[in-house]
Symmetry: C2
Subunit: 307 residues, 2 copies
């Protein structure tokens, strides 16, 4: 594993790069199918939803669900709607996070954020419409047995809300802006804000593939380490990357004194922590008897990513 | 049926008044059980949720679900979690509706709105936390068979989002503020903004009680007429009631030139329309063989309500 110049990845990470390129059109086509069309009334809300969903994201969460499900032998058609439901949650959270009263971001992935392109009320409604669509998608997925649908709905709902999910992480993050945070508090913020959704992507992929309890347990650990990896690299990129690479304003987190790993531990200790999370993810995969190169490669990809 | 002075109801409406008083403590106790406690971290978000959920609402949507379910012979324990899930959706919608970029309301039920009592970011997160809790509650309700849970989840998700649910109604409502609306547009706004959730309360009560298709169809019509009744009386109250009776600023809708029935049709024609919706609700109930006095009485109560 080596980090090199922009858009150059190690051989280990390259499998994930190719996988992301392969599944992205599948995910985008399914999202296009699941979302109301742009002319569907109320058209402004649906235009805002599509503006943000099709803003050029990496589709990491749905890809992670597909990678886990495929690793355990599931078919794409049993995985794709749930995978896309996770991308809807991720997108809604970005729309609401970017609002003036939250992170107040004007730019995301190099484009105006939803409330800048449309208006604040429409951005709030776009997020508010995506959330029920998530659960409608899962409840109406005819490929899922009701027992499985209910289990996946409960998992995703827990990972999205409070006290154990993404919104709790947002709540801690807002509270942290008003003062210095400890390492433990930072861990909690990130584990919930980013880790919960990445963790549930892996867990749902496993559940949809009929994972055994030991498989589910090992993969859950892999997923939580991956979430940690992602947030640490995000924090590092924020202080090292250029605006062009990031597609957003770099250094913003540091300026607004938000809780970041480099701010709490310093850059060197943060890099060491990154490698320990990477090792944790790899070790967790040893409990899986199926070939896990793809899941390994995704960990490499996240460590090496430049944006 | 006669409308009289404040808090005085006709004999027909009194059964509903007593029923609402009877079920309110049951609903409140179940909500208290389902919501994270106030000290649970992130405490500010949970305090904001409880501030708004326990703000003194009439619990009309959950009561409607209970009334319909009881009418068809279901037990309260099979109805209460879903009933409370609807109250959570209703509350989240009020929190987001009141935000400065939406209706910008400082007062609701005589108390400061969520973003005034806390702050805007916390109010957004409180709503964002309530929505997944709705679906978690339904997916984890051990009294529901998975087939029923999935059906109810799909119903509630559709009624909450776009293009057929509450958020679509909000979207139309925002669009309508910028110009005059026709009667048909007004109908669409209200049918989705208010009617969708009241309709789904009746439908879910019926589904949880194992309603036949003809029963479900008749009750769906009753529910949609009830939603209409509710919105018409809301619009009439806005121009006739005092602030003390309403617990909010009266005349606000008229001042901001929002779409209301009296604004489009005038007060007299609106009162006639009210009576026609009332008749529609009563006629729909004739298809139900079980005693439907309670459901009749709820229609009377809504027509006669003073706040």
């Amino acid at each position: 594993m080596q980090t090199s110049s922009k858009s150059r990845y190690s051989a280990a990470a390259n499998q994930a790069v190719r996988f992301l390129a392969e599944v992205r059109p599948l995910i985008d086509a399914e999202l296009d199918h699941l979302l109301p069309s742009e002319p569907t009334e109320p058209a402004k809300v649906h235009a805002a939803i599509r503006w943000s969903v099709f803003a050029g994201g990496k589709r990491l969460r749905p890809a992670l669900l597909l990678a886990t499900g495929r690793t355990l032998g599931a078919r794409d058609r049993d995985l794709l709607p749930t995978a896309c439901a996770l991308e809807m949650i991720h997108t809604y959270s970005l729309i609401h996070d970017d609002l003036p009263s939250m992170d107040n971001d004007d730019l995301r992935r190099g484009r105006p954020t939803c409330h800048v392109r449309f208006d604040e009320a429409t951005a709030i409604l776009a997020g508010d419409a995506l959330l029920p669509l998530v659960f409608q998608t899962l409840a109406e997925d005819r490929n899922l047995r009701p027992e499985t649908a209910v289990r996946v709905i409960a998992e995703i709902a827990r990972a999205s809300g409070t006290p154990d999910g993404m919104v709790a992480g947002q709540g801690y993050d807002l509270a942290a802006e008003s003062g210095a945070v400890t390492g433990a508090e930072l861990e909690r913020i990130h584990q919930q804000k980013t880790g919960a959704l990445m963790g549930v992507a892996v867990r749902c992929g496993a559940i949809l593939a009929g994972a055994t309890d030991p498989q589910l347990s090992a993969l859950s650990h892999y997923g939580s380490q991956l979430g940690l990896l992602f947030q640490i690299t995000d924090d590092l990129l924020d202080i090292t990357a250029t605006a062009e690479e990031l597609g957003k304003t770099p250094g913003k987190d540091a300026r607004s004194s938000k809780a970041t790993y480099p701010a709490v531990y310093g850059v060197e200790a943060t890099r060491e922590y990154l490698m320990s999370a990477y090792q944790g993810a790899c070790i967790a995969l040893e409990a899986i008897s199926q070939p896990t190169q793809l899941l390994h490669s995704i960990a490499d990809f996240i460590v090496e990513r430049q944006a």
